[in-house]
């Protein structure tokens, strides 16, 4: 599909907005619907979209394999790290009240970081599965 001009232009226009929407879903998840999981899926979907239009090798250059493979455990580590941060600051595991002087602020901070962790892991896993599937045959653009 590399040669279709309309698709390429539209994709280039759309992708920044898709990523922006993912960030909105991520950080607005405390106020409206959404959260880490959905944001991670949207990020992965953006890259999948890019891979379908511009070909898998190009997408692999933009989001390389090592990055995807690092993202998978990194998210879990961020999540678990928030738990340990609570532990070191004198609370229980995954206790957010101690993360800030004001307990409500601490809660918000804790939730923010664990949502980041969830998003990183989900995006990494979805992308990795897509790469593994799409990389098995010929690349998608043929």
């Amino acid at each position: 599909m590399k040669r279709l001009l309309v698709l390429r232009v539209i994709a280039k226009e759309l992708i920044p907005f898709m990523l922006l929407f993912a960030l909105y879903v991520q950080f607005h998840g405390e106020l409206g619907p959404g959260g880490g999981f959905q944001a991670g899926v949207i990020i992965a979907a953006t890259v999948v979209f890019y891979a379908i239009i511009f070909g898998l090798p190009t997408a692999r250059k933009v989001v390389p394999d090592w990055l995807v493979e690092t993202m998978m455990p990194l998210g879990v580590l961020v999540y678990a790290g928030v738990g340990f941060a609570g532990l070191f600051l004198g609370g229980n595991y995954l206790d957010y009240f101690v993360l800030d002087a004001d307990p409500v602020h601490g809660q918000e901070r804790g939730v923010f970081w664990i949502e980041v962790g969830v998003a990183i892991t989900v995006a990494g896993v979805m992308l990795k599965i897509f790469y593994m599937f799409a990389g098995r045959g010929r690349s998608l653009d043929e």
Binding site: E30, P33, G34, I42, V48, E69, G83, L94, Y96, M132
Partner: protein, 171 residues
């Protein structure tokens, strides 16, 4: 409409149509979830069910071939088992409290605490997020670990096969 989608999916032998219809089914399901006021779940259903899994299934189709083979044997026993399970489950629903009955047990146990306590205790207006990330933080950590483990499992499986000698056809 959902029943019609499922019926066509069962009859249809062209797997490409089946994949597209399963995406349609996911979008219809998302609509139902919005109607039930479960916007977070609807969003997940639309993005995962209709988006990512459709792409993955299409990728799998690309590797295998787009028509379903005729079944060798008539699977009467599995059909009977699933119908029996459906019967038992439907019988079970007759004992459930009516939909959104405020006196039912799920609204009595921890739910009042969540609804009244989420905003002052966590400062998060979206109760779903508050429950998911704060009150049930351990569960979500486990869930994230499950996602990670699933990804690692897929990587382990597909890597080994590729190393053994190229893309042999999937069973």
């Amino acid at each position: 409409m959902m029943a019609a989608t499922v019926a066509v999916m069962i009859v249809q032998r062209n797997l490409f149509a089946v994949v597209v219809l399963s995406g349609v089914y996911s979008f219809l399901m998302a609509t139902v979830l919005v109607a039930l006021d479960a916007v977070d779940v609807a969003m997940t259903e639309a993005s995962v069910g209709a988006g990512i899994s459709t792409v993955l299934l299409l990728g799998a189709l690309y590797l295998t071939g787009a028509t379903e083979a005729k079944p060798v044997a008539r699977p009467w026993l599995p059909l009977a088992v699933s119908l029996a399970t459906v019967g038992i489950l439907v019988y079970g629903t007759s004992d459930l409290p009516p939909f959104s009955d405020p006196g039912s047990p799920i609204f009595q146990h921890v739910e009042p605490r969540y609804v009244s306590g989420a905003l002052p205790e966590t400062g998060i207006p979206n109760i779903v997020t508050a429950v998911l990330a704060s009150y049930r933080g351990y569960d979500t950590l486990g869930e994230t670990t499950v996602v990670f483990t699933a990804g690692a499992g897929v990587v382990a499986l597909l890597r080994r096969r590729r190393g053994r000698g190229g893309a042999e056809a999937k069973p």
